[in-house]
Amino acid sequence: MSTEKNIYTVTIYTENNIGLLNRISAIFQRRHINIESINSSVSEIENVSKWTLVVKLHVDSMKRIIGQIEKQVEVIKAYYHTDEETIYQESCLFKIKSDLLFDERQIQNIIKESNARIVTVNKVFFVLEKSGRKEEIELLYRELSVFGIMQFTRSGRVAVTKNEMKISTMLKA
C-alpha cells in the first residue's frame, strides 16, 4: 500500500438538506482528516447541490471515504479527482487603502500583471478581486502585503472535471 498523500478534489452531488454539512464533515472529522477547503453551491442540475472539497489523502483512504460519503442517504453521487483531471480556480478579495493606489506606483503594476480586477474604489479603500490557482493568489498576497492589506479573504476551490461526471444521466435513469 502506498503511503503517499495526494491532493484530491472531491465533488459531491446532494439533495439540499439542512444537516448535510454536518454529516459530511463528520466523515472527515472522525478519521482525523483536515478539509483544506470546502464550497457548496447549486449545480448544473435543478434542485441538486454540488460540493467541492479539497483534501490531502492516500488514495486508499480517499476511496474508502468516497464510499462513506456515498452511503449517506441524501448524497446522490461522489467523485474524487487529481489536479490533473480538473480545471480548478479559487477566488479572493483584497481590501486596501485607497491612498496606496495613488502613492505607490508599484501597486498599479502588480494589479495589471496579476490580472486582478478592481471591484470598487472609494476615498478610503479599494477592493481587488483575483481568481486563479492557489499559488497565483498566494503570490499576489505576498506582493501586496508589503504595502499593507486591510482585509483579505479567499474562497474554497471550485472545479470542473475534464471528463464527464455521469450524474445527470444517472438521475434520469
Partner: protein
Amino acid sequence: MKETETIQIVRKETATTERISGSEAVIKCLLAEGVDILYGYPGGAIMPVYDELYKYQDKIHHVLTRHEQGATHAAQGYARISGKVGVAIATSGPGATNLITGIADAQIDSTPMVCITGQVGSQLLGSDAFQETDIVGISTPVTKWNHQITKASEIPEVLAKAFYIAKSGRPGPVLIDITKDAQFEEFDFKYEKCKGIRSYKPVPETDKNSLKAAAELINKAKKPLIIWGQGIILSEAEEAFKAVIEKAGIPAAWTILGVSAIPTSHPLNVGMVGMHGNYAPNVLTNECDVLIAIGMRFDDRVTGNLESYAKQAKVIHFEIDPAEIDKNVKTDVAVLGDAKSSLKALLPLLNANSHNDWHHKFKALYEIEFEKVIKNDLHPTKESLTMGEVLKEINIHTKGEAAIVSDVGQHQMVACRYANFNTTKSNITSGGLGTMGFALPAAIGAKMAAPEREVVMIAGDGGYQMTIQELGTIFQQKVPVKIVVLNNEFLGMVRQWQQLFFDKRYASTEMVNPDFVAIAKGYHIDAKKVTKREDLKNAVKEMIDCKGPYFLEVRVEKEGNVFPMIPTGASVSDIRLE
C-alpha cells in the same frame, strides 16, 4: 395488491376529511407502519404525543422503561428478534441525549430503529431554552439518517421516509426530532408509504460477472472457508445460505452477530471466528485458499492483525454496503447485493463438493481446543462453577430453542461460544459497540416481540448494574424474561486483560455487589442464588419452568479466563489456548 389499493383509497378519503394535530399524526403514521409496541419515557417537549398515546392505547402499546437508554435497547431487542423496525421515543434535552448509546449501538450493528424525540418550540430553537439540545447535531454521526420537523405538515412524509430508510438496504437507526409547536399544529393528514428516495439506493445491483467469478474461484478451491455475519439474518438468507454450503461442502464459521443463522449442530458449522472464537476457524483462516465472506465486515475483533490476515487466500466478499468492500481486507471478487438473492443466484453455478480432507483439519483442531479449553469449561473438575457449565445447563433445559440475549464481557463470549441455537434471530448481543447494560432492556424488547419464545438474558455483575432499573419495566409490564447473572465479583473481561497484559494490577475492576436476589424480589420477581454445582441443574430447571420472570444469580469462579484468545495486534493464527 387489491387489498392494499383499497386501504390506500380509504385512507385517502378519510385523510381529506380529517384535520388532526401533528401529535396525532405521529401515532397514525406509526400505526400505518405496523408499529404495535414502542418504548420510551415522557417529558415536557413530547407531551402532546404522549397525550395521543393515551388516546390510542388500545391500538399501540407504549412501554415505559426506566431510562431512555433502556428504551433504545428494548427497541433493538424487539428489532433483532423480529426483523421489524424497533421504535423508541423520548423528550428533548436529557431524554434525547440518553438515547445516544442505543442509537450508536444500532448504527454499528445495523439494527433497524426509529427514534422520535420532542424538541422545544421552533421559535425557541437556538435560545438555550429549557431542555433544548441539538439532538440532530449530536446524533448525526451515529444515525443512518436524521431530520428535524418544525411543521406538522412534514410529519407524514418524514416519518414514512424514516421507516423506509431504517429498514431498507443495510438497516440502521433514524432519529426524527419534532418541535413542540409542530406537535400541536393542525393540518390535513394523509399518509403514503415511502417507496424510494432518488439519492438513496438501498440495494446495489448484483453484477452477473462477479457472481461467475466468485463461483469459479469457489469451484476451483481446495480449501475454501466461509465466514458469515449478520447479513444472512438481516436479508433472511438462511435457507439460501444453507443450500450453498451444503452443495459446495464448505466449512462455515460465524461472527457473533451471525450465529443462529444456521443451527449450532449443523455439520458444516465450524464455530466462531475472532478474538475469542474457536481455534480451528481462526487458525485455518490463514490456511484456506479461498475465503468467502458473506454479510460481514471484517471487524478488527474478527481479523486480528490485518497485515497477517488470510494473505494466502483469494477473498470473495458478498456485501450489501459498497462502502465495506476493501475497507479492511482487499477483496479479489466483490459481489454486491442482497445476500439472499446473490446466494440464490450463486447456487446453480456451484459444483457439488465435499472437501473431506479439509474438514478433517477442522475436526483435528477442534479436538485440541476441546482438550485444552472446552472440556474444562463445560465439564470442570475444579470446585468453583464456570460460566460454561451454566450455559450447558441452559442448553439442556431450553433444548436450544431459546433466544439468548447477552451483555458485554466474559459471559458474552462464553454465551456466544457455548449457547445452542436451533432457530435464526436468536443471538441478541451488542457486537460492534460492546455496550454494557444492553442485555436486560434488549431482553424485554425481544420477549415482547416474540412472546412465544423463551428469552434468556445473560449478564455479568457489572453490566447488569448498568441498566438494573429495567427490572421495574419487567415487573410493571409482566415480561416473563429469564435473567441470569454470572457473578464473578469482577469486571471480568477487563480483569482478564489486567491479568494477562498489566501484571495483575487489578485497577478498579473488583466489585462489591449488593444482594441481587433481594433486589429482584424487591421488584416481586422470583429469584434464586446458586453457589454450588449440585444446585445448578435444579435452579436452571426451576427458572425455565417458571411462567413469569425469574432471576438467577450464579456465583462463578472469580478469576476465570476466556480462551481461546487472540491478543490485540496478533494474527488470527497465533490464537492462544491458555
